[in-house]
Amino acid sequence: VPRPTPRPALAAALLAASIVALCAAPPARAALAVQVSVEGLARTSEAVVRGVVQRRTGVRAGSRIYTEVEVRAADVWRGAAPAVVKVQVPGGVVGDVGQRVDASPLFADGEEVVLFLARPGGRAWRVNGLAQGKFRVEGGQAKPDVSRLVFHKREVEPGERAAEPMTVAELERRVREVR
């Protein structure tokens, strides 16, 4: 079956769209999620730490790739954690193969972060709430990297605040006030 000949108008629209797509700011992939609160994250975390990313290593484990992120904890706001926390984060790069798990947070060397951490099965540390459980700290502000999440709208509990940009001081206060 011969392919239909592209129409000029369509071709023009497609070309225009190509330009727009290439000129746009780099977008992100996404996972579908519901918004959680800082308090909810804290309640379900075994530790909440503020620290600095020291090193990241891509690891292949069967069909999966994950990144081991080493964070030197400067302060533990809740629970208990070692001085250097090794966190397993889904997705990463090994050689020329990359694997991206949507909703998984991304890290940079030297980045100051606040992490909500859990240990499923009591073993390796993972970020609780994935991208919502990792805040980047900069200039007194704490900001979760949720640009790759598609949110189904859900209100957080009264008095609580969603995992969204806020001052570090407020984030710490909210975490420490959780019983």
């Binding site: 996972a31 579908l32 709430g129």
Partner: protein, 324 residues
């Protein structure tokens, strides 16, 4: 003068089309997790991606037996059948091929294979259904999910509803594998979300689905995630954000409970898939060139590719003018 006027008119048309379009492509991330300028994810020719379904754990309250599989298949087909209007031809030759159903629960990618592009309904949160002593917790993220068909990516906080895992070549952006995990409601453990099948016109669910209401629409969810599998990013993060050119697009990054409109592609989604995979034409990308920074122009992308497209656009404009 007439020729110049026509050229100006064509250019204005092109420019107006550009401002009205909003779709975006997903960038390749480097080993640091940073987007590589001008390098985007894509499936190589012949652009035929076979997916398999494992719906054994689909809940029966939201969808009638077998309905979830039918709706998921229709959601993938929506992209393959993309066209700009009822009388327009299909504008993409990308094909999602139905590979049938499987009992596999393993996501990810193994070099040398075998691999499958898996759509799997997980049964309960791993933290709820897997004994703490299970060795899978020592085997890295994803191990428990793959071995026990549970939803693992969110250890404690039931925040994620659906997650897509893509594997790709960093050097080119070529997609190698894509898997979609759905965190459907598991009534035994009380974890997960109600994914439902009733479509447009059905009322939002007030509680447990009864087969006639919409909680989180499975069709919209799979159609949206399939767009990510294709290599598309978010049109915009919020439909009401400033400058969002297509607030009703399937690839908008926000969804409301009870909505079903993302099952149907918006023209912006169609232009997106038909731009990345145009019928009979190569995927526009800059993968043949190392990424270069373009400064001062506001267009941070692969210089070679962008220039090429601009030249192509100019050539197209000239051709359009000659035809008139």
């Amino acid at each position: 003068v007439t020729r110049l006027l026509r050229l100006a008119a064509a250019a204005a048309l092109l420019a107006s089309a550009a401002t009205a379009l909003a779709f975006k492509r997903s960038p390749v991330l480097d080993e640091l997790g940073d987007p590589i300028a001008g390098r985007f994810l894509f499936w190589r020719a012949p652009r035929q991606v076979t997916y398999v379904l494992n719906a054994a754990a689909a809940n029966a309250a939201g969808c009638a037996p077998g309905e979830a599989v039918v709706l998921a298949r229709a959601s993938f087909a929506t992209w393959t059948l993309a066209r700009l209007g009822p009388s327009e031809p299909q504008c993409t030759d990308f094909l999602f091929l139905d590979g049938g159903q499987t009992t596999s629960t393993v996501a990810g990618y193994v070099e040398g294979g075998p691999n499958q592009n898996l759509v799997v309904w997980r049964r309960g949160a791993c933290s709820s259904v897997v004994p703490a002593a299970d060795p899978c917790f020592d085997q890295g993220p994803g191990a428990c999910a793959d071995q026990h068909n549970c939803f693992e990516e969110d250890p404690r906080n039931s925040a994620a509803i659906a997650i897509t895992t893509t594997t790709f070549k960093v050097s080119t952006g070529e997609l190698l594998d894509a898997d979609l995990e759905l965190f459907d409601r598991d009534e035994a453990s009380g974890s997960g979300f109600w994914l439902t099948c009733p479509g447009p016109g059905a009322p939002p669910c007030a509680g447990r689905p009864d087969g006639r209401c919409v909680a989180i629409d499975l069709g919209s969810t799979v159609t949206h995630e399939a767009g990510h599998v294709l290599g598309l990013g978010h049109t915009c993060e919020r439909p009401n954000e400033s400058g969002c050119g297509a607030p009703m697009a399937t690839m908008v990054g926000t969804a409301a409970a009870g909505e079903t409109h993302k099952r149907v592609l918006h023209v912006d989604d169609v232009v997106g898939v038909c731009t990345v995979y145009p019928s009979g034409q190569p995927t526009p990308s800059s993968t043949a060139q190392p990424p270069t920074e373009v400064t001062g122009g506001g267009c941070a992308t692969g210089g070679a590719s962008a220039s090429g497209l601009l030249l192509a656009a100019a050539a197209l404009l000239r051709a359009l003018v000659r035809r008139r």
